[in-house]
Symmetry: C3
């Protein structure tokens, strides 16, 4: 029984196989349209997350499978005091695989311990969101053609952003990656990332205050949102907020083959005028999120398609 | 890429083709049971509307397709500040067609502008609800055999009722229609309907205070609800409310081949004793709502069935 | 048109046929995987109940059918004042069969009166929950091999627990059943069960205060929860609560072929240490709940599979 709780649950070899499968799915989607015929995914969402939920549902439907589940804790048995361990054991009777979103860190891990079916962590509080990381990796691999030899800029809230932390962890396993970490001082990556991941593995990185200073170097720009309330004072916010908003003038500083990613939803950190730039691939990224989840479902269910 | 935002997006020719297709679906529903195999509809309901949502879902399932979506804004990414334009672009990666219900006027139009998939307006505030109008037209065409040469009574709240306004607009394009507008003075049709649609096209109409005065003339009676709070004062409400409640005695005044429609849900404006009268077709109307949505999905997806 | 409103709607013969069908489904589930192809179940849940809803949905999907519906009253037309009679008539246009959960006693019965499709009562207030009873019966029949010649202990809140009342009613129709009713004095079975069902039919029963006193006698132990707030005073609660918590020491008093059932969700009335005991079958019971609902859907739709 395999689960996916953290992106690091997969070895580099397993990850490469998964991404290869996702690439094949992208090219030959019809080949997979009955692969999960008769299978069901349970989407157990204890907090709302439409995008992630719909993406899992689309993935299972694309594979010829079916969906059941709930989209908020109100409509679950949690209200009656049932433990997540009991819920997953019952859901094991209803479905073949489960995707769990829960506000509490470690929830998916707890669920997986008692589950008779594979459990996918679809986000556990601020902790892990492994299928977002898989989506990011597939987008880079598919559109850039490689996961090594990349200079990647990560921009925005690097302190609290779990997708950023996961992506650094995942890319750190590939060779010749350079990280450029663009954020206000208050929102820089936590020490445990800087020390345990970057320094410990001799991975080159630079910390920058302004996006425009580093734009020309980047192969990939990974944008995230800077929430106003995360700044220490209003003055700082006003002084700096434009540093982290991607617009046409900043795009002009970027390479011709730059790729701009964003986990979405965005608020105002990317100006809508950027959307039509062919280097803006954040909506394509949502599509890759479906392919990689299709690959993940097949892998965890042990289903092979020839 | 075709969308359906307003009932008037369709020319009379296109509308007739759509209704013909819906009639064929009614007669030969099995022929269409795999027409949308492998297709998905996203039902994006930012406000609850079970009837409309289930009707779209039943339509897509009848066509062999699948459904994903949400049934209230709480469980959507709107809560995180995402624009409808971004949402529809992401949903375009998950589904082949979308039905959007939103409390804000013009929401579906905004969504359609950036969508890569056909968008159906499933109601935008008090503005438009085109699939209700298509349902009404199909019900009349199927059960009466024609959309011209009809005297139709519209009864209830003609001022705020969007289904009434849409139906007047739609029927005004057919020949020899006579409208009988039955409502309290305070709730008569707005000037822009009376002047721009009826008078401007020389379409005969009569305004009436009491349903029973005009019952004998009607080929179609389209009932809607009069909400108590819409009256100017309690006295008026008490004096007039019975004028607009359809019961057995009023039905006795109607023609033998009268048809009574209602967009539903009803509250008390049609007495339950009327339900068993064969001329009461408002529950059949709900069935026609499924057929016409099946026809609409096929048309917007450009799928033809031989 | 058949409905299932109360477990007693089925004669013993019909019940036996249904359970036989469910047993065959358990053994040959693939044979039934397209039995409801093209059919839809509407799950109309006016109050949340994830377990029951998902169980119906899994059942219909296992039969090759599809699902539509809602999971809380907010997203239904009830908010607009529509009667349940009207709702079911409209839903009859969308689906082939409906499962209704409603907080009001008698709701499913009211709905069935006007329905054009079979209605299954999926719980109406504290009144009836017939598919839970069918699940209990199937679990006993499958794992014990019989529904007669059984000494069954019912433990916990026997006063308010509707599943207990239904199960007593259902088993009372089989021969040589002995009931052991284990509960605090305040929560004993109501007089109408004791007098009209047990005494009236000369069915042997014993009332007990403590679970451990009767453990050695039991073939089946049916556990339910004792809610703290049901006790008359805190002192009684503290004195007695452990009498009704099943743990390893109490399990050691039980027969080797004892079966422990629970309708779930449990809170603390069964210690987690009991879960690994092979006599604990409450999670298997959830699986039987799917099989028996599959059998019920087939039976009410009149579908036979050879």
């Amino acid at each position: 029984m395999r689960h996916l709780i953290s992106p690091m649950d997969l070895s580099v070899k397993e990850l490469d196989d998964l991404l290869d499968l996702a690439c094949d799915i992208e090219k030959n989607i019809d080949k997979y349209s009955h692969a999960c015929s008769g299978k069901k995914i349970a989407t157990l969402f204890y907090e709302p997350s439409t995008r992630t939920r719909l993406s899992f549902e689309a993935a299972m439907i694309n594979l010829g499978g079916q969906v059941l589940g709930f989209s908020s804790a109100d409509s679950s048995s949690a209200a009656k005091g049932e433990s997540l361990s009991d819920t997953i054991r019952v859901v094991s009777c209803y479905a073949d695989i489960a995707a769990i979103r829960h506000p509490k860190e470690g929830a998916a891990l707890v669920a997986s311990a008692k589950s008779n079916i594979p459990v996918i962590n679809a986000g556990d509080g601020g902790h892990q969101h492994p299928t977002q990381t898989l989506t990011d990796l597939l987008t880079i691999k598919s559109l850039k053609g490689r996961l090594d030899n990349i200079t990647i800029g990560l921009c925005g809230d690097l302190k609290f952003g779990r997708t950023v932390h996961s992506l650094i962890n995942a890319l750190a396993r590939y060779s010749n990656i350079k990280f450029i970490l663009i954020s206000p001082k208050e929102l820089r990556v936590p020490d445990y990332i800087r020390d345990n991941v970057l320094k410990a593995n001799n991975i080159p990185y630079v910390e920058a205050d302004k996006l425009e200073d580093v734009m020309p170097e980047l192969d990939i720009l990974y944008m995230t949102r800077v929430q106003r309330e995360r700044f220490f004072n209003e003055e700082d916010y006003i002084r700096m907020k434009d540093y982290y908003i991607l617009d046409k003038p900043k795009m002009e500083l970027g390479k011709e083959d730059l790729l701009v990613l964003h986990p979405l939803p965005r608020v105002n950190e990317i100006a809508p005028e950027v959307d039509d730039d062919p280097r803006a691939v954040y909506f394509k990224q949502a599509q890759y999120g479906v392919y990689v989840r299709m690959a993940l479902i097949l892998t965890l269910l042990g289903i092979k398609v020839d």
